[in-house]
Symmetry: C2
Subunit: 626 residues, 2 copies
């Protein structure tokens, strides 16, 4: 994601020759393999990855966020989804075939392999970058068809990747209690309580955001994601952190982790080299007692999963850290709110600037995105962006995952709708907000569609629902108004948001696509972002980050209690885009109350920061509607 | 379900002694088993079962619709869900433990077995009455723990059940084209087209309603369900029907199946004995070619599933017959509509009668249910009820699966709400309708709750949604108004309904509990039945059967097309129960239009049948609201 969409295809003939040679090279493998799978993830199954882990891009040229390449002696094919069919075709040369997932005629990776491989073939994959659940599906299918899936310890792409970047060792940031609300020692203690409740001896932590959250540390190894490469193994009376030793040379970090002044033995952190997770886990498993159990995410790498003997392994879909991290404590909620207020200040300034500059014809999608970043960076505790800014005008905004590039860059005008989906990492919180604005006069049809989207946004934001409700059950509320007019959008409605962590995090969300999401709980934070996209013409989306809070309706059936959402994002929703006649009284009341909050809360901060012009703009944009 | 809830526990000591003896008896088993599982289903995984298949009830006394009994040398335990905790406790003696499913502390059957069994135990089950997917889960868990799940060919309950009823061989009804809209020959041809599309050689049909639908035959082997015991195996050029030979002695049946005048070879039906399915399938599988595949439902019995070698077996969650049967053709839709008009006639008559009789204090839940049955039976093509009538007053109506029994029977009065959920089998269609009425003056709170339920009912019935939407995505629409006030109901919103077939059928429905339901399609028929239940006080439910029809909204996003529902049930919704102030204009319009349809369509039929009093009642009850 970090490198933009290059539009000329990578020449892959020589690379493929080298890879096929490696597939037969006894230096790496005991017996030749007939196919090699290159997944897109890293060893921690991160959504965003560091340059050193962009192996699939290296071999085929395609740099979208999702895709798996498979190379056999004769073929080279790459599976990706509908967002990327065009881009993949542009970025790969004719050695490669785009396998269009979701189309009826496209075979699965397993079926394709079975159809092209000679009998009894060996299919190789790096067990560190394939998730355990994926490994199992692939292995089962291949075995059934008389082939086998074999783990290749040395990564064959790394073997041929001459100028492969080094794994980052960015400096660590320590977060004190005023940012985290809970010391890492208390988090360990809470985790151990969960472990002993479920009779678990060890927990192998592999997700980077879980490790960062657990130790109240942040890094910048992966762009937009304040995480660092590490593993952790937590036992009943020991804590092992696997991390490059250069990162803990810093005195602040040593102090934070109490490395030099160990207190209680069970709360002292033992440091191991990042790479030694494998032998250490092996040794630890060798000494496991009869009924001892080890927790590991079912999405952890097959390499680490396989180290734990089956009888001791207890794979879980959502780890207790994932669940604990999702429910924000008071300090985190305060931080997230503050971060969004600062974010709102930057966006108010941006919109003031755009109003002045657009008529001059000099603002482009890229310069607007740059201006937004500049304005955000003026705010306290700014660290960086939380994802690549989607800054898009007219037809470009109909491309849901659009990022402006020099060759697609459009100029903002008074005639087209502008959509900006952007966010930042602040030390106190992570932001994510989408606003859709017209700086001239929107058409009646644009307003009509925008108003459907607004009705959907409000339907979710104002929904009251019982404790224990899963987010996917709210997804249709966001679509109801669009559906009634025959419209829809082809993405989910919301995702969990981390606190100075990944902008996408589990285990909750609001999407028709999932079913295994965990129930919403007070303190969870998700986005609410319905949209509408008219291909070749315009794109609309309204996104707030919202906090799950207890609701107090009239009754309380079976004492279950109720929940609703409080908006954390406080940026005006452009009135000019709304067809007020289409709103019910309840929807008007919601909008007026929302704008009152924006005016009050963000207004106070604009005033404090002496941003007079933006304050005037805010007042103008938050006038109540009748 | 057919035998009511007996309230005194079965004395099981002697039965358990005999069963435990059988578990060691070499007459039935080669090696003793340490536990025996008694599931509640029959060999076709039917929801309702015949008396000869009520084995779980026989051994433990509990006769609810869901429950699994397990007997070990020391223990006897029975797993059931929240609907039945009380009933199970009342019906079983102290030899048994009720295992309350859904409670945190209740172990799964596997976990419980593992905790009580000695090392290396053998757990037996009749492979005919355990579904393949269940077998796999249980077998895997036991094997992992060092035990094994073994199929016991002779059913051990049957072995000790002295006066076990015979398997029914009710006469068959043949349905002509004017009822089915499609000949069985055309259904076979359509099925074969699906089979050849997916390269399937054989399809083993095990679900009783699929066999009945395929051959346009009905029976009455299971109360309320017009099905008959049979299996079918369809190949590219042969059709095998496994059925008791006495049933095809009837000339009308022989003629219908063209047994004596075979036409084309590939459309001639070969008759085999019901029991010979096993050896015949075995023989057929022995002659399968290298890549030949056999379809079987993944919910078919383990016995039949296991006969098909793994390499040839292709288990499917929803068979093509299940899918084809769910989408009703024009004749079936016409029949379902006619059945519901006749049903409405009977219910209008019932309500007229209740208005007159209740003040006398002589009407009970049971006599009201009997009257409803009597009135339905006066209608053309009436065959029987489609499920046991739920006729319930006041607090009894808060018990969702209530059936009146002499010991619980309440008298209807002017002071309590009355809920009747009932339906019938007519030769042209199956009905299912719930109305909640007050014959005096409902309280403000009862009206408030009823109006929430009505809002939910309308929200589903009037919903417009894209083609391809799964029913579970509509479930929250039914709850939104209740949720807003802190209320809810703990059952799904709707189920598929057969056409002169089972009143519950897959693969579609409207429930938060499912995720794997098939997308809704025009021609499918489901129920829309939100409710609200106040324990110890009252129960409310409004149920219509509705038809999925194309909708024509303003726009047509990506040419996907839209769907909505047309009510098929046409019985007035009592205005007295509604707080009109709580309804939006759209909801009022929906209700007025619905009542206009009731008046017009059912009114015409009442007139035709000369039912003057009911016609007056209908006119009074369908006056438009302001």
């Amino acid at each position: 994601m970090s490198q933009g969409e290059k539009m000329s295809p990578r020449i892959s003939t020589e690379l493929l020759r080298q890879l096929r040679q490696a597939m037969r090279n006894s230096k790496y493998i005991t017996e030749p393999i007939q196919a090699y799978i290159v997944p897109s993830g890293d060893a921690h199954q991160s959504e965003y990855i560091a340059p050193c882990d962009c192996r699939r891009e290296f071999i085929c040229g395609f740099n979208g966020s999702a895709g798996t390449a498979i190379v056999t002696e004769q073929h080279a094919a790459m599976w990706t989804d509908g967002r990327y069919f065009l881009q993949a075709g542009n970025q790969m040369d004719s050695n490669w075939t785009v396998m269009k997932m979701g189309l009826k005629e496209t075979p699965s990776q397993e079926d394709w392999l079975i159809s092209v491989l000679p009998d009894g073939s060996r299919v190789g994959v790096d067990p560190w970058i394939i998730a355990a659940d994926q490994w199992k599906i692939m292995s089962k299918a291949l075995t059934r068809a008389g082939h086998s899936l074999v783990p290749i310890k040395d990564n064959l792409i790394d073997a041929i990747w001459v100028d492969r970047p080094a794994r980052p060792v960015s400096p660590l940031i320590t977060l004190a209690l005023n940012y985290t609300g809970m010391s890492w020692q208390d988090k360990i203690t809470a985790l151990r309580a969960k472990m002993s409740e479920r009779k678990i001896t060890w927990f192998v932590v592999t997700a980077l955001d879980e490790i960062a959250w657990l130790f109240n540390l942040r890094g910048s190894d992966i762009e937009y994601n304040p995480v660092f490469f590490a593993y952790a193994v937590v036992g009943k009376s020991s804590i092992r952190l696997f991390i490059d030793h250069r990162r803990i040379a810093d005195l602040a970090v040593r102090d934070h982790l109490q490395l030099d002044t160990p207190g209680k033995a069970e709360l002292s952190v033992q440091i191991f080299a990042y790479e030694s997770i494998f032998p250490e886990l092996q040794a630890l498993c060798a000494s496991l007692g009869h009924k001892e159990k080890v927790w590991i995410s079912d999405k952890a790498s097959w390499a680490l999963t396989d180290v734990i003997p089956k009888t001791h392994r207890s794979p879980i879909p959502y780890t207790p850290l994932c669940l604990a991290k999702a429910v924000k404590n008071e300090t985190e909620i305060k931080g997230m709110k503050m971060a969004h207020i600062k974010d709102a200040v930057a966006l108010c300034e941006l919109f003031v600037w755009l109003e002045k500059e657009i008529p001059k014809g000099t603002v482009t999608e890229i310069s607007a995105a740059d201006k937004a970043e500049e304005l955000r960076s003026q705010q306290k505790d700014f660290v960086g962006l939380s994802f690549p800014t989607i800054s898009s005008v007219g037809p470009n905004a109909a491309i849901i995952h659009y990022k402006p590039l020099p060759e697609t860059n459009r100029t903002l005008s008074l005639n087209e709708v502008y959509l900006i989906d952007s966010g930042a990492q602040f030390k106190d919180g992570t932001t994510d907000v989408t606003r859709t604005m017209h700086f001239g006069t929107p058409s009646a049809y644009e307003k009509e569609c925008f108003t459907y989207v607004l009705k959907g946004h409000i339907a979710v934001s104002a929904a009251v629902f019982p404790n224990g409700t899963r987010g996917h059950l709210l997804d249709s509320f966001a679509r109801s108004a669009l559906w009634e007019s025959g419209l829809d959008y082809l993405h989910g409605t919301g995702h969990g948001v981390g606190c100075f962590l990944n902008v996408h995090e589990g285990p909750c969300g609001i999407s028709y696509k999932t079913f295994a999401d965990e129930p919403l709980e007070a303190g969870m934070i998700v986005s609410d972002e319905p949209g509408y996209y008219e291909d070749g013409s315009f794109g609309l989306r309204i996104e707030n980050v919202v906090l799950v809070v207890p609701a107090k309706p009239k009754y309380n059936y079976r004492n279950r209690g109720s929940l609703t959402f409080d908006p954390i994002t406080l940026v005006p929703i452009q009135l000019k885009m709304i067809n007020v006649d289409m709103l019910t009284q309840k929807e008007r009341d919601w909008l007026n109350e929302y704008h009152r909050m924006c005016r009050e809360v963000v207004g106070a901060e604009l005033e404090r920061q002496g941003r007079k012009e933006a304050l005037d703009w805010l007042f103008r944009e938050t006038q109540p509607i009748a």
